[in-house]
């Protein structure tokens, strides 16, 4: 065994490295946020929200992209969240120990981290190719496929935390199983379930890859789900890859908007969940 002094020394060195690695991680968070503000804050004005995207020599905004992102996110969550909620309910309430639940959980966990570009291609294959055109609805469905596993996972976890005696007490009053689940278990797990949905919203509002071949992009304002639809991430991608400095600065502004929205959502979700669990 090494001498006491040598052991103390190596202890000091390794623990310092742990401190350093934490500083390294935090450093990047700060640098990324700082550069976003540095480049994006100046471009933040009312025109960004009121004007649609225009060619680089005209004054344009991001209105159509923001609206498109909002529409597709809302529709995506509206399709994906109920599906995930029901699947999670089956796994926690009906088939808690069944083989099917085990398999679904395993598959769901894989879908949770499956490459989002593959999901985009999948929706391209099953929706865009048969319809022969890109559309907002296929973008929303692609996002829904990403929402499902997140919601399934949190719903199952949260319902498993609801104490069994609560369900037994409700059943003893003669309530049918569905009522027990909806009125008792859901209510007890509400904070956690909503947190899961919020996290899913945060996750999809920044997703780009699945939208590239489904919703594509649109220079003009469109609220029609049957036409190609602009989205903030897709516009950022297009603008950043273009040499025009005007577009670069708009891309930074868009990036700042998305990041602030996503961070606000995930902080809100966390605060919400800690409040719910405190009760």
């Amino acid at each position: 065994m090494a001498s006491y002094a040598a052991r103390r020394r190596s202890n000091f060195v390794w623990l310092s490295l742990c401190w350093a690695s934490t500083a390294f991680g935090l450093c990047f968070l700060i640098i990324i946020l700082a550069t976003l503000f540095w480049h994006g804050f100046g471009g933040l004005s009312l025109t960004v929200f009121t004007q649609p995207t225009r060619p680089p020599d005209e004054i344009g905004g991001l209105q159509n992209a923001i609206v498109g992102s909002l529409i597709m996110t809302v529709v995506g969550v509206a399709i994906g969240a109920p599906l995930g909620l029901l699947a999670g309910t089956y796994m926690a309430e009906y088939g808690r120990h069944s083989k099917l639940t085990f398999v679904v959980r395993f598959i769901n966990d894989i879908l949770l981290s499956a490459p989002s570009i593959v999901i985009g291609l999948f929706i391209y294959q099953v929706m865009v190719a048969p319809m022969h055109h890109f559309s907002g609805i296929s973008g929303a469905v692609a996002l829904a496929v990403i929402v499902v596993p997140v919601v399934v996972r949190t719903t199952e976890d949260m319902l498993l935390l609801v104490p069994g005696p609560l369900r037994e007490a409700a059943s003893a009053l003669g309530l049918p199983r569905s009522t027990v689940v909806v009125r008792i278990a859901y209510r007890a797990a509400r904070a956690g379930i909503i947190t899961g949905i919020l996290l899913a919203v945060a996750r999809i509002s920044g997703e780009t890859a699945p939208l590239l071949f489904t919703a594509l992009n649109n220079q003009f304002f469109s609220a029609n789900l049957n036409t190609p639809m602009a989205s903030l991430p897709a516009v950022i991608f297009q603008y950043a890859m273009n040499p025009s400095p005007v577009w670069h600065s708009l891309a930074w502004t868009g990036a700042l908007i998305i990041t602030l929205a996503v961070l606000a959502l995930s902080i809100f979700a966390r605060v919400f969940s800690s409040k719910g669990s405190a009760k």
Binding site: A20, S21, L29, I107, I117, L121, F122, R177, S178, F237
Partner: protein
Amino acid sequence: MADIAVENSRVAYKETARRSRVLTSFKIRDGVFRWLTFAAAITVLLILGGVIISLIQGSMPSIRAFGFKFVYTDVWNPVTDEYGALAAIYGTLVTSAIAMIIAVPVGIGIGIFLTELCPEILRRPIGIAIELLAGIPSIIYGIWGLFVFAPFLQAYVQPGLIKFFGPVPILSTLFAGPPYGIGMLTAGFILAIMVLPFIAAVSRDVFQTVPPLLKEAGRGIGCTTWEVVGRVIIPYTRVGLVGGVMLALGRALGETMAVTFVIGNADVIPRSLLSPGTTISAAIANEFTEAVGELYTSALIELSLILFVITFIVLAIARLMLMRLEQKVK
């Protein structure tokens, strides 16, 4: 009296009828709800099945045209309609490897810091800050990497690397060439920052499963903090750590936007890590909407099939390992 009795029995009859009606409606509602949840659970399986089937179906023309050769040739020529996936596979594996080499030690370091070293008040804020890093959308990493990080590497880091490794025999080829800024190394580094929070969060969670008794026993026989970490905590949580690392690897392999910005999109196998290359996901993101012709599209879909198979295997291993740890905790 009699009429009251008759009235009562009529009420009772009404009651029974109503009761049975309510019970039937309960039964129907129960059945429907149960069936709905069951169908939703099956849908999750169908999604995965659908992904696999549609990818295989879409890549059939390419599979028929190139067969197994697709995987080990690196020609990518839309003009002559010849495609091989090797350059993209190589880029995916190399960038992910770079990401893992950087992110694994740093992420585990953060995990150790958060469970063993951090003062109690800072634990939650720092934990949340690291998780926020995970929440930043990948396109933000992309634009940041392209406009801020790549020029920084080009100006300050890469010339130093080229000079430093110049005289070393093998490494001189790896770090050769003009400093482009964008390229494999930059992509790997951005990926490392992206997966860092995942590794940190998983390692924090698995370190917390170590029974305090074990740690205290280690300290009781005179171990330093680092010795407790290295000889008690890490061996105890090894399975979970490997699971977490595999999970992060799965993310790195499939990451698209951040890589697409900084990889440089050259359909070749670059000799040097500083040169532009491509990855599976970047190739798909860049070329799919512009792909004309059935074979081109199909080759790109086959690329994504390969990506899906690789990540599926990695993620499945990750889950199995994490499950083994969970059973141990129980």
